[in-house]
């Protein structure tokens, strides 16, 4: 460590307020980074405390350090690496026993640990008394009670951390007794490890060998322990492999199963500790959670409630999006007019004015005006539901129907988010820990109609179908859901065939959302980040579209690049009843689906920029018959995600293959469905 800098790893179970502590301490200095090669994010930030710089690293939330998931590997490797001077273990005091399972595992890796006993306010509310001093004695490391949301106890937590880091406070972690048999094996293996020159963490390594820990076993198999935090390989590969064989022999001869017994012993100690430190001072009344759950998961009532929640969110998203979008639009056109006037006054050449104003400004402005309001509302709403604890209940109720598709309940949440914005849907897939289901959720999210496509779609549908707009729109929504279900079903029977992933989900207690947290997470963490990316993609794309529509300069429509594209792409659309103009317009909507109307205006040669126009809406019904109109709408709703969604897919998967699949899956599904609709419609004589 640098002199004066203290590095602190913040570990803990998911949903215990780790990030709240992290954000409260680091303030606005937080930045989000990635671990190399992994999709899981960690955040690092720093702050100054009494002249020392303290660097906090927020580790992914895990129940264990068993290296069974990427999160666990990351958290464990970071603790093993020796980089943190202290590990702060944030513990949910209301669920102490389960949380201690992780604490005890951390204590096996390092003795420089401070336990942050969070959610102490809820403990009080539940009528418990928690003997913090006794817990400190039991664990042998400092324990600091906190209420992170109120920032209570945080100064003490930092103080204890600094004391441990600087060695002013010594720790003496409890050592687990795994019972005669396993302790005997540990001793044997430890002796062997010492013989080949491994002293550091030999007990832990012996334990992990007996537990058949995949990472440790793999390291011994390769004969290279650098992954386990040992600087230089102290022993030959053969010696390590011999040791591994010895461990396998010991493990296989152990009854009951060493793996089970080790976890059992750990929980046994946790149970005893909890028994000694937690006292119930008044009987627990039926908890609020119980009462709410009885309604929310009711056999009948759960359905209208779920439906109402989703409908309410979409209604607010669309209404609020319209209003705020209107303001943004108004501001945008003033900005555009101002910019045009100013550029004209300084006598800029036409292509500068066109490129900057009609290309860049209009494109970027439209994306912001149409994406920012719904995204903000949606993120906030879901962050609220998440904090409240309602989302897991929805996943719980909707798991059964999703089983039929070979998926699970959590995927419905990503779809729900996708109705607002595909980007948020893709990013929400993070909550699914099963890799296959997560990928399915990512690949099928673009098939869900986002509020952008919905908004632009409504305008088009009203223009094209007039009185029949409502049933048409509803059919499109159901078609989109059907397409996503179909794609899920097919993916689970082709690409992701095999063992169906299980569904294990923690059902947290309901909590009152903390506004500050929600706002932070929704606005800073997600919206700002995502919008910035949107601008980065929309800018160049809309500039390119403007260039295509205006080059060569002064040429008639047929002579421009757009005209050429329309002619070239026309044959592609034949089987689907799509014209060259339609396909080119759809290509233009890649930055954002909302610009579909001006894009159509451009491809029909009605205008040369993406500026909003009403003229095309009245012209289209004459050009397209009802079948053509409907096929176009179907294809438009399903065909490809916007570029920002593609970027989000890339960000979540970090794989070119899956990003391409994110394009292929919707495109294929859209093609198949559009083909069926068009050919079927023709057969029926429309």
């Amino acid at each position: 460590m640098d002199s004066g800098t203290i590095t602190v790893g913040v570990a803990g179970n998911p949903n215990v307020g780790k990030s709240v502590i992290f954000n409260a301490l680091t303030g606005s200095q937080q930045h989000v980074g990635n671990w190399p090669g992994k999709t899981v994010e960690r955040a690092a930030g720093s702050f100054t405390y009494q002249g020392r710089e303290i660097r906090l690293v927020d580790l992914p939330g895990t129940y264990s350090l068993a290296a069974q998931s990427p999160e666990e590997v990351i958290a464990r490797d970071y603790i093993i690496s020796g980089e943190p001077d202290v590990v702060v273990d944030v513990v949910d005091a209301t669920s102490l026993e389960r949380n201690l399972n992780l604490t005890l595992q951390i204590l096996e890796l390092t003795d420089r640990v401070v336990v942050g006993l969070n959610l102490m306010d809820e403990v009080e509310r539940m009528g418990w008394e928690l003997d913090v001093a006794e817990l400190e004695v039991e664990l042998g490391v400092p324990v600091v009670p906190t209420v992170a949301t109120e920032e209570e106890g945080l100064p003490e937590l930092v103080e204890a951390t600094v004391e441990v880091a600087e060695g002013r406070r010594s720790t003496n972690p409890v050592q687990l007794d795994y019972g005669l048999t396993i302790e005997g094996h540990i001793e044997t293996l430890q002796e062997d490890l010492t013989r080949v020159g491994i002293e550091e963490r030999s007990r832990w390594m012996a334990l992990k060998l007996l537990e058949d820990d995949p990472e440790v076993v793999e390291a011994f198999k390769r004969g290279d322990l650098t992954a386990l935090g040992l600087a230089a390989p102290p022993a030959s590969a053969e010696a390590l492999q011999t040791l591994l064989r010895q461990a396998v022999r010991l493990r296989e001869g152990t009854r009951p199963d060493a793996k089970v017994e080790i976890v059992r012993r750990r929980y046994e100690l946790a149970h005893d500790v909890v028994h000694r430190v937690v006292h119930r001072v008044r009987p627990e009344a039926e908890s609020v959670t119980e009462r709410i759950d009885r309604i929310v998961t009711h056999r009948i009532w759960s359905w209208p409630i779920t439906l109402a929640v989703f409908l309410a969110i979409f209604w607010i998203t669309i209404q609020g999006g319209e209003i705020a979008g209107g303001w943004l639009d108004a501001g945008l056109s003033r900005l555009i007019d101002g910019a045009r006037a100013w550029l004209t006054r300084i006598q800029a050449p036409w292509w500068v004015i066109g490129g900057l104003v009609d290309g860049l400004l209009v494109g970027v402005g439209t994306v912001i005006a149409v994406m920012l309001p719904p995204m903000t509302i949606l993120f906030t709403a879901f962050a609220l539901l998440e904090d409240l604890g309602l989302l897991p209940r929805i996943a719980f109720n909707l798991d059964r129907p999703m089983q039929v598709l070979g998926s699970q309940g959590k995927q419905t949440l990503t779809w729900g988010m996708s109705f607002g914005c595909n980007v948020t849907g893709v990013m929400a897939s993070r909550i699914i820990e099963n890799k296959k289901v997560q990928l399915t959720a990512i690949l099928t999210s673009p098939l869900i109609i986002c509020s952008g496509g919905y908004g632009a779609g409504v305008a088009l549908v009203i223009a094209l179908f007039g009185d029949r707009a409502l049933p048409v729109m509803l059919s499109l929504v159901f078609l989109s859901l059907g397409a996503a279900s179909l794609a899920t079903f097919v993916l689970n029977r082709t690409l992701f065939r095999g063992e169906p992933g299980g569904f294990v989900l923690e059902m947290p207690r309901y909590r009152m959302p903390k506004w500050r947290q929600v706002a932070w997470r929704a606005l800073v963490d997600r919206v700002a980040h995502t919008m910035w990316r949107a601008v980065q993609f929309a800018g160049p794309a809309s500039l390119l579209i403007w260039i295509l529509g205006n080059l060569p300069p002064g040429a008639p429509f047929e002579g421009t690049a757009v005209g050429w594209l329309v002619r070239t792409l026309a044959p592609l659309g034949d089987p689907f009843g799509l014209t060259g103009e339609m396909i080119t317009a759809l290509l233009f909507t890649l930055p954002a689906k909302e610009i579909v109307v001006p894009a159509l205006a451009m491809t029909y040669g009605l205008q040369t920029t993406l500026v909003e126009s009403e003229g095309v809406l009245s012209a289209l019904p004459q050009m397209w018959g009802p079948l053509s109109s409907y096929t176009f709408m179907v294809f438009f709703m399903l065909y490809l995600p916007c570029l920002v969604t593609v970027w989000a897919i890339w960000k979540e998967t970090r794989s070119l293959k899956w990003t391409l699949m994110g394009l292929v899956v919707p495109l294929t599904t859209a093609s198949v469905i559009t083909f069926l609709v068009y050919q079927g419609g023709q057969l029926l004589g429309f």
């Binding site: 129940y63 264990s64 068993a66 069974q68 998931s69 209301t94 669920s95 102490l96 026993e97 389960r98 399972n101 005669l180 048999t181 005997g184 094996h185 010991l250 296989e252 001869g253 152990t254 009854r255 009951p256 793996k259 089970v260 976890v263 059992r264 929980y267 046994e268 149970h271 959670t289 759950d293 009885r294 998961t297 009711h298 056999r299 009948i300 759960s302 359905w303 897991p392 719980f396 109720n397 798991d399 059964r400 129907p401 089983q403 309940g409 299980g502 569904f503 294990v504 989900l505 923690e506 059902m507 947290p508």
Partner: protein, 338 residues
């Protein structure tokens, strides 16, 4: 330096006192050869080893000869004779009319107890500690002498009343009906549908024992009571139903069979249960364990989702939802209410 003026009788008196004390210690030890002693004099271990050999020899040859024993134990006849003297002192052997030796009932009981302890320890060491078969003998031998009857019964219960040791030798049952034996005679109050585990068969009368064993009754075997008639029990052993006369059932001792573990997914809402085992392996099993589903943990069925699946369970103070198929990997025994 002043000379110490001791009376004439001092030295003889001291000698006499020491002799008496020495004799007293001898007598004292021989009067109480209790098995409860924790630190065993070396002779006792040796004596018990000779007792076991003598028991085996008598079982095989019908008589006890110093020469055979010496051969068996690879000890000189002089050593064996000294050992036999100790056995006589313990009351484990007695001289018969012809001047030969034979084991007393007490000696036979102690020998059986030792063999039982030895084989139970071997079973324990192999099953629970993973020792290899060839290595267990010495360790079991060391432990058999220091195990009290109570400890032995606990060990037996923990191992699930095994019938055979890892070498394939039968583990002798404890003396049936004596307080140390946990079993009750099968002829007692059993009801149709009960499942019991046999812990002990009377070895007297011998023909009955042979017949029982031939029918499949062995310590460690679970039987189900199919039907109960006044003089006859219909019992299901393995896959067939066997009739057993009530008189014969008097010689079979059993304990209630441990409840068969259930799959967690089969419990109704509101039920409480204790986790017995987690099936499967790898990540799935590990995840379950880390969630708190460890053997011994208590779990409550909270509620089902609107469509019946998944199901929410409360374990270690936390609500965990999972599908029935996943829950079925958790084996539990249901707990009574209250």
């Amino acid at each position: 330096m002043e000379t110490l003026d001791l009376p004439q009788w001092f030295w003889p008196a001291l000698s006499l006192l020491l002799t008496v004390l020495w004799l007293a210690t001898l007598l004292w030890r021989r009067r109480r050869p209790g098995p409860a002693e924790t630190s065993l004099p070396h002779e006792r271990v040796e004596a018990e080893d000779i007792l076991k050999a003598a028991y085996a020899e008598e079982q095989k040859e019908g008589v006890l000869r110093i020469g055979d024993l010496s051969h068996r134990l690879e000890l000189s006849e002089r050593m064996i004779k000294r050992g036999m003297a100790a056995l006589l002192d313990f009351g484990w052997v007695e001289r018969d009319a012809e001047g030969g030796m034979r084991l007393t009932d007490e000696g036979k009981a102690r020998a059986q107890e030792l063999i039982r302890a030895h084989r139970l320890w071997e079973t324990y060491l192999v099953d629970r500690e993973g020792m290899s078969l060839d290595a267990v003998h010495a360790e079991a031998h060391r432990r058999e002498h220091t195990t009290t009857p109570e400890e032995l019964e606990r060990l037996d219960a923990e191992l699930g009343h095994p019938a055979w040791d890892p070498h394939g030798h039968a583990i002798p049952a404890p003396k049936c009906g004596v307080p140390a034996s946990p079993g009750r005679a099968l002829s007692g109050d059993v009801e149709p549908g009960d499942r019991v585990r046999i812990v002990c068969l009377d070895d007297d009368p011998a023909p009955l024992l042979a017949q029982l064993v031939a029918l499949g009754f062995k310590p460690g075997v679970d039987v189900e009571v199919v039907e109960r008639q006044p003089d006859l029990l219909q019992l299901r052993v393995d896959d067939h139903t066997v009739p057993l006369a009530r008189a014969a059932a008097d010689h079979v001792f059993a304990v209630p069979a441990p409840a068969l573990p259930l799959e967690l997914g089969r419990l109704p809402v509101g039920a409480r249960a204790r986790v017995v085992d987690i099936k499967g392996s790898g990540t799935r099993q590990r995840r379950m364990l880390d969630m708190g589903f460890v053997p011994g943990a208590e779990v409550t069925v909270m509620r089902r989702a609107s469509l019946g699946d998944p199901i929410e369970y409360r374990i270690k103070g936390t609500g965990i939802a999972m599908r029935r198929t996943d829950a079925n990997d958790v084996m539990v025994e249901e707990l009574e209410d209250g």
